[in-house]
Amino acid sequence: MRSLKYATKEKKSKSILSRNHSTSNLQDIVTSADILRTLIRKNAVRVVDVRKEDDYKKEHIKTAISIPLARVLDNDTPEKIVLLLEQSGISDKTPVVVYDDTFGALAARVAWTFQYVGHANTSLLETTFANWKSYGFETEKKINVFPKAKHSLRVNNDIFANYDEVEKAKSEQNKILVDSRERLNFLSEHIPGATNLPYTMLGTSESILRDPQEIKRFMENRGISKDDEVITYCGSVGTLSGLAYFALRMGGVKKIRLYSRSFKEWKKLGKPIEEFKDANFWDLSAE
């Protein structure tokens, strides 16, 4: 009975999602707090909290389940991720909204992973948990468990890049490598040929991603066009670059991949790096 009721609600909710989101690809990426509240009320969404489990236990968005980023990273194969989805009661058609409390970077990495294993219907909550709470929106302490669901495995290799592809990108036209770490990290060392788009540029205090028009302008300023093929990377596990991945998609880039193992792997493999040692820029920091 329960599952039947759930299924009908889910169907209805999907139409809400698609009505609001299908007009352009841009808005698939983030779900506004208002829409999420509606979906929660209609029991038509799986909300995923990627913060540490302890934080989840203290308080979380109503109906959310806990899938901490660390668990996603530990289950480092598409098969295991699908299993994780199934255990969380997420079927192929369940709309998923992911949130964090780290300006969207952790949520982005998890959302990207879900999309990578074939759960395209994953979006990011536009704001952080702290903001959600400050708006006075619904939270709870109850640990939510949902019946196991079936999920198929359809790995989307179009959104993933390994070091080999990164290395090749350098010499190919219209391929752009985007480093989303902070400026000083980038200046110190980066993958040769990369362009810096620090994650700090991508969001505001209210929203994890800026208005698409602004993102588009930033891209245009840097000469990144919608038709370029972009690979994003960051320092270690692809969180900051996960956010950049979604930001650039929001800016209209069609072909974009995440080099999820990022600079950490690149360095470990002894690949070439570009360094800049002629300025003591770290000494400008006030702390």
């Binding site: 620090p198 000469g223 800049f276 006030a286």
Partner: protein
């Protein structure tokens, strides 16, 4: 009575300053477009550089793809809203911190050229501009941070400084001068950099008339000069024509060939002061006889009026003069070295200590909040000592003010003492720098606070200022003990060194320091400490360090003392300044912030471009 309550700078009665509208949205658009043209090869590098500098963006150290954005802050006056915006912009596009310069600008470093227009866009929203912050223009017009609150001032010169800044900004008369041009206003003869500017002005009254004492032709640099007094009194009506006359003469007669000698001070000194003086007086009459109303209307002092408030009489603050030492309560120590009374009874200027002018975005936000909460004028001023002065603070609010600052690490003592060393950006971002003057200034500050030098009143009127090259952005020539960076071969090894200068001073009786000796970068701190040791042994009663140093430089003999003159001091410092062999102590031959062998790398400076 009621009026007093309304004007009391209480949390509930915050009067936001109106948006000063220095910036223009169109300029940000044009900047963005020109970056694209330049990148596509449709604008030459030279043309683009000229354009970029006119809009306040310098190339960064050995990295032309990054800019240092210089935000012009006329009179140093910033509002909480502006500070918050700078915090956000720095986080997004720069390095998460901002930097207070020695000419009341606020600088954002390592901004990608492609993002400069975005930063400008944000600045315009809060009324700020970067226009003519660099290039061969009238640079940021400075005004003493005590103007309006100084007990010794004839009147508040701030509105005049603001009106002058507005008069010259985007004024066709000064868009392509032979070289940059600097105008500084003082409040009184003690506070202000009037003798080291192209034009320096001190407000004064004569027979009830308002006017200025105007100095011309000063300036610091590879060769420095102290400005000359134009005339005993220049009435306020002639301020703008006098400034314009100087600018026009410079534009006409300045050296456009030799970049190293093209500031107005060279023109003045090559021609001779008396001749230049006569030309200025004559040119001023020309200006007055030919100026159009339209031009004259650019200058409006009344619209720059200060927020005049009826102030209540507050409590006195005996703590300030109470002796403190290194073991004193941190709050007392802070009060002693960071707070001074205003001419308005019961109100205080609170200085916020920074390290060589660096402030993080979080700290900027916290500072904005404290200004909003505690300043009766709703703004603060950044100062040439690379810190912030928050004015019109009530005595009873000081403990809370201190606690608020402490939360973000802004409550260090020593802002008004020699422990707050000034340091230009040096090798952290500047093309011309040879040494890491910036880090050295911060190292000095933390060492001196640790040693409690901020608590010693006899050291208080002394200053330490450091530049990373001879070009004086760190204003080392007006410091009690100043340093400028260079490279020397010591024991066969290239070593970062500083030339030490003694006895400089700002204000109307400003003097330039005299060069004493070279000191390896890693020996600067121990050398200053040694100098203080010698001073303590050799001083006469009631003789401050600054007085003692000045006496040495003037050659006044210390007859009954061991160190009789400057040479004796140099000899006494020999041991401290010498280095062991490079094999025994390789670190001593490196600069701060580096773990590799020192080499002096510089690129073409853009100051002169």
């Amino acid at each position: 009575m009621k009026k007093e309550v309304l004007n009391y700078p209480d949390k509930k009665h915050f009067y936001p300053k109106s948006n000063p509208r220095w910036g223009k949205e169109e300029e940000t658009e044009i900047f963005g477009q020109n970056v694209k043209l330049f990148r596509r090869g449709k604008m030459s590098e030279d043309d683009f550089r000229r354009f970029r500098l006119q809009h306040g963006a310098y190339g960064s150290r050995l990295q032309q793809n990054y800019s240092m954005i210089r935000i012009k802050v006329p009179s140093g006056e910033v509002t909480p809203e502006q500070l918050q915006k700078i915090a956000t912009l720095s986080e997004a596009f720069s390095i998460g911190s901002a930097h207070v310069s020695t000419r009341q600008n606020i600088q954002l470093h390592w901004v990608q050229l492609e993002d400069v227009s975005e930063v400008m866009r944000g600045l315009v929203e809060v009324g700020l501009t970067t226009r003519e912050a660099c290039g061969n223009t009238v640079r940021n017009v400075m005004c003493s941070h005590f103007a309006g609150v100084c007990p010794d001032e004839a009147f508040d010169s701030t509105p005049y400084a603001m009106a002058t800044a507005r008069f010259f900004l985007r004024n066709p008369v000064c868009q392509n001068l032979p070289r940059k041009f600097k105008i500084n206003f003082a409040c009184c003869s003690n506070h202000g950099l009037v003798r080291i500017a192209d034009i320096g002005l001190i407000p004064m009254k004569k027979d009830g008339a308002i006017g200025f004492k105007i100095y011309l032709g000063g300036g610091l640099g590879a060769a420095s000069f102290i400005g000359y007094l134009l005339e005993e009194f220049t009435p306020e009506e002639r301020l703008v024509s006098t400034c314009m006359a100087a600018v026009r003469l410079f534009d006409r007669l300045g050296n456009r060939e030799n970049m190293a000698r093209n500031r107005m001070r060279y023109l003045v000194n090559e021609m001779g002061w008396e001749k230049f003086q006569k030309l200025v007086i004559k040119e001023r009459t020309n200006v007055e006889m030919t100026i159009s109303l339209e031009t004259l209307n650019r200058y409006k002092v009344e619209s720059e009026g200060p927020n005049i408030r009826q102030l209540s009489n507050g409590r006195k603050l005996p703590l300030i003069n109470e002796k403190v030492d290194i073991n004193s309560d941190p709050y007392k120590r802070w009060i002693h070295s960071n707070v001074i009374p205003q001419k308005q009874n019961g109100y205080f200027v609170v200085f916020v200590t920074l390290g060589a002018g660096d402030i993080t975005s979080n700290q900027l936000r916290s500072l904005a909040k404290t200004i909003q909460t505690y300043s009766g004028e709703g703004c603060a001023r950044n100062t040439p000592n690379q810190n912030f002065a928050v004015r019109f603070v009530k005595a009873r609010d000081l403990p809370e003010f201190y606690n608020e600052l402490a939360k973000t690490g802004l409550a260090n003592p020593g802002a008004l003492t020699m422990s707050s060393a000034v340091g230009c950006s040096g090798t952290t971002s500047c093309n011309l720098a040879i040494t890491n003057s910036h880090r050295l200034a911060k190292e000095i500050q933390s060492k001196f606070i640790e040693l409690g030098f901020d608590t010693e009143d006899d050291l208080r009127d002394s200053t330490i200022k450091i530049s990373g090259c001879p070009n004086s952005c760190g204003q080392h020539e007006i410091a009690t003990i100043g340093f400028y960076g260079g490279a020397s071969r010591i024991d066969g090894t290239m070593t970062p060194t500083y030339t030490m200068m003694f006895g400089g001073k700002d204000g109307e009786d400003g003097v330039l320091g005299k060069s004493v000796m070279r000191v390896p970068a890693k020996r600067v701190i121990s050398t200053i400490i040694k100098i203080i040791d010698i001073y303590r042994q050799e001083r006469n009663t009631n003789e401050s360090l600054a007085m003692w140093v000045s006496k040495l430089i003037k050659g006044v003999p210390n007859t009954n003392r061991t160190a009789k003159n400057l040479d004796d001091i140099k000899t006494a410092l020999m041991e401290t300044t010498s280095l062991p062999s490079p094999q025994d102590d390789p670190d001593a031959y490196m600069d701060y912030g580096n773990d590799v062998k020192f080499s002096a790398k510089t690129a073409r400076g853009e100051c002169a471009a």
